[in-house]
């Protein structure tokens, strides 16, 4: 047995992959199948699942409603479609903003003196030492009407004799966007840094030698070679932003409801696991579709992972 294992590369591979395979099967594949089954069920009046086969939850999600104002038997209710659309656009905006903030910083760190790089990376990671939820609450303290930002602006306005009414920043889509960008920034900085740091300095020299100025060198050499980092970072940011509900819960209140909040409320408040399951699966499918087209165009950033 041991002898065979020593000789067979494929047996070694199987053994190494076994624990994770079991783990994923028990905790991912089986729950996913259960979710799928539940999503085709119907909620009983006391909040239990009646196992049938109906598409009701899905049609409801995409706007089919029987609860209409003017006595019609059915109509279009955009409530859930709007939530899906909002989640998608927020995830998109967050990702774009995070890239545009993370890239210059990652570039700066990658070009810094090697001795200073570790310190900068350390500083990028420091916020992650604090709990995710606490960090979001900190933003609440900053953004609310009596929060730090309004107080400081108030002082300045007072000093300049300008009338000032505190901004309503909390519980707006902007607050959720700021919170998301803040939470996910490190996950973009690190992969972009890794890919920039790997670029051999002689390539910049080669580009200059062949007649490229700084801008052309960036567009033709730096940017394409750092794309794996941007792609990896995008995957690390876009997917979680699509699903998270804590940031929008705390900073968006009742105003900014995302798919994540919808799912959470279906399970915990509305006690409708069938509708919650359907929403979960739609979220997954949406994320998969976006990721699929994105990675087909730009790859998986596998150069980062492999190297």
């Amino acid at each position: 047995m041991l002898q065979r294992l020593r000789e067979s590369k494929s047996a070694q591979g199987t053994l190494l992959a076994l624990p994770t395979t079991v783990w994923l099967f028990v905790l991912l594949i089986i729950p996913l199948i259960l979710t799928l089954i539940v999503s085709f069920g119907r909620r009983s009046p006391d909040g239990n699942v009646i196992y049938t086969f109906t598409f009701e939850n899905y049609t409801r999600l995409f706007g089919y409603s029987t609860n209409c104002a003017n006595g019609q038997p059915s109509c279009f209710d955009p409530l859930y479609v709007n939530i899906l659309g909002r989640s998608l656009s927020l995830a998109f905006n967050t990702t774009v903003l995070v890239i545009s903030l993370a890239y210059p910083l990652a570039y700066f760190i990658a070009r810094a003196h090697p001795k200073q790089r570790n310190m900068y990376l350390f500083m990028v990671l420091i916020p992650l030492w604090t709990n995710f939820v606490i960090r979001v609450y900190a933003w609440m303290m900053l953004l609310r009407k009596e929060g730090a930002i309004n107080i400081i602006i108030g002082w300045i306005a007072h000093f300049l004799h300008i009338p000032f009414t505190p901004f309503e920043m909390l519980y707006t889509p902007g607050a959720v966007l700021v919170g998301m960008v803040y939470e996910f920034l490190p996950f973009m900085i690190l992969p972009i840094y890794t890919s920039l740091e790997k670029i051999d300095l002689s390539l910049y020299e080669a580009a200059a030698d062949l007649g490229a100025n700084a801008i052309k060198t960036f567009l033709r050499v730096t940017l394409p070679l750092s794309m794996p980092g941007v792609v990896a970072g995008t995957i690390l940011v876009f997917i979680p932003v699509m699903g998270t509900f804590i940031v929008s819960d705390i900073l968006g209140g009742r105003q900014v409801i995302l798919v994540g909040n919808l799912i959470q409320r279906q399970f915990l408040d509305a006690r409708d696991p069938t509708f919650g399951s359907a929403a979960s699966l739609i979220l997954m499918v949406m994320t998969l579709i976006v990721t699929y087209f994105y990675t087909r165009k730009f790859g998986f950033g596998e150069e980062i992972v492999v190297a």
């Binding site: 051999d200 020299e205 080669a206 580009a207 030698d209 062949l210 007649g211 490229a212 394409p224 070679l225």
Partner: protein, 371 residues
């Protein structure tokens, strides 16, 4: 071509700050003139300033003092992309995200060349380095030798006035390196472009160069043709760095117009009729330098002059040569004997302890000033 010299360095100094905060001159008052169409090498061990000098010509570094001229024009702080020189990098520095064709086209696109012209010139360049048909490959799909050719073609496709090569063959295995040496030399002669070649490999420099600058500690130790450098080194460093030499300490006993006699204390004998360089005076302490392959071993005292009795202490057979180590009155000398006859017969070998006579030919023996 407006200037007689393709590249000229006038009294160039390049200082760097070491991590300890000290100032260090990587290039220390270097002056050299590289003629148009010349194959010029800078030879030295790592840290001698050869690569820094090359990088100042390319424009990657700017001199702290002095000036670099290309085609007679002072370069000042001209950035690399505005210089009519191109570089073949030591690690090739190929763009991994681009195909071979795109790598070659890069420099032409930067010039704003039209697409059909780019196509024509890239095709010609690929043909020149024998890579026709490889244009769609990525650099990673090529062997080391092929990558080296792509790097060469990428620089040459720009038709530079001067091609700078920074140890371009360093990563290749010996056999391929020797082939490429001859190929590069042939290419340079065919194109008539000035090549400035940086290497630490003396054989490579001797094989290819029209002229060589031997460098050490940021300074040029000697500048001359390969023959001059090997046959007439002007100081002990060059004599020691290029090839191998035996050094014997002595004192000039008598001196005439162009000949000197030196008393070599370590072998307690006088060597006569030696050619001398200028400025040496009678009584001066000197070093007598002689190449191991230029010492003749004789069975017995045939001539009286410059023959010394020696004892064989060791012999090493290395195929082409036999290295014979001898002892002359306590001074250790090495003598390379070419194996022109088969050494299968043990009698053709010198045996340890055997008494032999060494003959030094005056024209092969160099008198150097003691540093």
């Amino acid at each position: 071509m407006t200037s007689e010299f393709a590249v000229e360095m006038r009294d160039v100094v390049k200082k760097f700050i070491t991590p300890e905060g000290n100032e260090m001159a990587a290039v220390d008052h270097v002056t050299m003139q590289i003629k148009n169409g010349e194959f010029f090498s800078m030879l030295g061990s790592s840290g001698c300033g050869k690569t820094t000098s090359l990088r100042m010509v390319a424009g990657f570094e700017w001199p702290t003092e002095g000036e670099v001229y290309i085609e007679g024009k002072a370069m000042g702080h001209t950035p690399p992309f505005q210089r009519k020189v191109n570089t073949v990098f030591q690690n090739y520095a190929l763009f991994q995200h681009l195909t071979v064709y795109q790598n070659l086209a890069f420099g032409l696109e930067m010039e704003g060349a039209k697409e059909d012209e780019i196509k024509k010139r890239v095709g010609r360049a690929l043909e020149m380095v024998q890579l026709t048909g490889m244009d769609r490959r990525k650099p990673k799909q090529l062997s080391g030798g092929q990558q080296q050719r792509v790097a060469l073609a990428r620089a040459l496709v720009k038709t530079p006035d001067v091609l700078l090569l920074d140890e371009p063959l360093g990563a290749l295995d010996l056999k391929l390196r020797k082939e490429m040496q001859l190929e590069l030399k042939a290419l340079q002669q065919q194109l008539g472009i000035t090549f400035i070649y940086v290497t630490h490999d003396q054989e490579e420099a001797l094989t290819m160069s029209d002229r060589i600058a031997v460098m050490s500690k940021g300074k040029i130790q000697q500048l001359g043709t390969p023959v001059e450098i090997y046959e007439r080194p002007t100081n002990k460093f060059v004599a020691d760095f290029i090839g191998e030499s035996n050094f014997l300490e002595g004192k000039i006993k008598s001196i005439s117009q162009n000949e000197a006699s030196v008393f070599v204390s370590s072998i307690n004998a006088e060597v006569v009729g030696l050619p001398i360089s200028k400025g040496l005076v009678k009584g001066e302490e000197v070093i007598v330098s002689i190449r191991p392959e230029k010492i003749h071993i004789a069975e017995k005292d045939a001539i009286n002059q410059n023959m010394f009795r020696a004892t064989v202490t060791n012999t090493v057979y290395i195929g082409v040569d036999t290295k014979v180590f001898v002892d002359v009155h306590g001074a250790k000398l090495k003598v390379w004997e070419q194996n022109r006859i088969s050494r299968l017969d043990p009698k053709s070998f010198y045996t340890v302890g055997q008494e032999v006579w060494l003959m030094l030919l005056p024209e092969n023996t160099i008198v150097l000033r003691k540093d």
